[in-house]
Symmetry: C2
């Protein structure tokens, strides 16, 4: 006849590294090797985290509910799980890692993941020198943006595509805002024989990321604001070269040093300067993009 | 006039520890100290993980989508985020940490988080010696379960409550199964003057955790099965004592050594033994529970 007693009254965490190794070793032989590597590392770190901080079941359950709420408010137009990662710097970090890994291993940097939640795949090709700003609000400062797409050794790249998108001065991208026309502040431009592109846009302005979900709640709990510095998104591609996905930041913007999603890098700060003799824009921005060749 | 070049062609991850420290230091002065501590540790580990494994943006986005899907399929009856944590051993770990922390700090172990997704707060109080099994299926083996609730020094505790719940032989808890009556295989029993409780239940059987969501998908990708060994859930409480939330496992069950949620501990294995002269049950289980006093 069995008789067991709980171990109440004792005081040692029994699930140490031996337990973690058991969880890692549960992975079967048919697992993809990369998945095994990633999950082993993740399990090790998440267990170490829990032990280091003495994470309680209540705290863990708060996190679980937060994660569940992220999914519940995500749809085609919104990715709250992504945003939650952004506010702890994770997207910026994997962006950097992906870029570096790709450069080092000779693979392409093709990933829609690092585009942010407001990218659209159907940006219309517009002629160079035209505008992406329609319904331009009265408080917007029009900008003439231009430059060249070049190979790493300085050769101009013709037929490269430059995609640009930005929020309006009310802080909203067109798909968030019923008052903006479809595809407003978005365009794709193809470089000419000299590698040149150009278009009119507006000077970007800071905007807050949504604060109605777990990400906003976390920011508030961490006593942080939810603003992003003024930026324009870019994707630049040319045949035979590694694509570049990036954001460029107005060097005079607020929040450059405390971007709520930690995306600012020093070499991505740009200066909008006065433009003379152009009735369409009193500011201009020259921005050249260098592309590295695809290794084979 | 500004002119910037992307850093394409270079090959150093620029977001190292300095970046991580910046994210940690973004936390404002009004944050709850414990939250600051937990989030600092989490950010450090999740960044270290990403750097150690060279996590790519595509891999990260797969995880984000998995997390979003967890939320999308969770509701009052199902917590897929919890289940996802369970299959990497995290609930078992925080359970252990919480228990140990509470014992060491003199706090109570009151948390609904570690009860698992099938707990109900409205278990009916039933008289000792009665059954929790209604609509008992033909393949079930009835068990007479009994024992005493004791203080750490062996004193019987009267008026302690023993809550028990279990899945039926089809692997489903009553709220998952329209063919079981409400509150089937659930009950709460109050100990008598000698600290004794007793009830009839059924011998538990192994069952698979749901495989229709991200948790099941992860298990499949990790080449693991989704079965749990046979167990009965218990919550035991007495005034002035720390509550115990636990699961007891049939020592002859399959999957004891490879529980898909890693909840088995050696001292929670129990033996169902033959019972003589009882037309209601051919098996019995004696299980005594020791409770530690609440420190003050």
């Amino acid at each position: 006849m069995a008789s067991q007693q709980t171990t109440n009254g004792q005081s040692t965490i029994s699930l140490g590294q031996e337990f973690t190794q058991m969880v890692i070793d549960a992975t079967g032989p048919k697992t993809n090797p990369r998945l095994r590597e990633v999950m082993s590392c993740f399990i090790q770190h998440i267990h170490d985290f829990a032990r280091e901080i003495n994470l309680t079941a209540d705290e863990w359950m708060m996190a679980v509910q937060m994660i569940n709420r992220c999914g519940q408010m995500s749809d085609e137009k919104r990715n709250e799980g992504q945003l939650l990662c952004d506010v702890i710097g994770l997207e910026s970090l994997v962006d950097d890692i992906t870029y570096t890994t790709a450069v080092n291993s000779g693979q392409s940097v093709t990933s829609s993941a690092i585009l942010g939640p407001f990218y659209r795949h159907d940006h219309p090709i517009r002629p160079n020198g035209t505008t992406i700003s329609f319904d331009t609000p009265a408080d917007a400062e029009p900008v003439f943006m231009f430059g060249r797409v070049l190979s790493a050794d300085g050769k101009p790249l013709a037929n490269a595509s430059v995609e640009a998108w930005q929020a309006s001065t009310n802080g909203l991208y067109e798909q968030q805002d019923p008052n903006q026309q479809d595809l407003n502040l978005r365009g794709k431009f193809i470089t000419d024989a000299e590698g040149k592109y150009s278009f009119y846009c507006i000077r970007p302005t800071p905007y807050p990321i949504p604060n109605d979900g777990p990400s906003g709640q976390l920011l508030e709990m961490l006593d942080r604001h939810n603003w992003r510095p003024a930026h324009i998104h870019l994707v630049v591609q040319a045949e035979g070269y590694k694509p570049v996905t990036t954001q460029i930041f107005d060097k005079d913007s607020k929040y450059l040093d405390d971007d709520s999603v930690f995306a600012v890098k020093n070499n991505l700060r740009v200066e909008f300067v006065p433009r003379k003799g152009d009735p369409q824009a009193a500011l201009e921005l020259e921005y050249n993009i260098g592309l590295a060749p695809l290794d084979k």
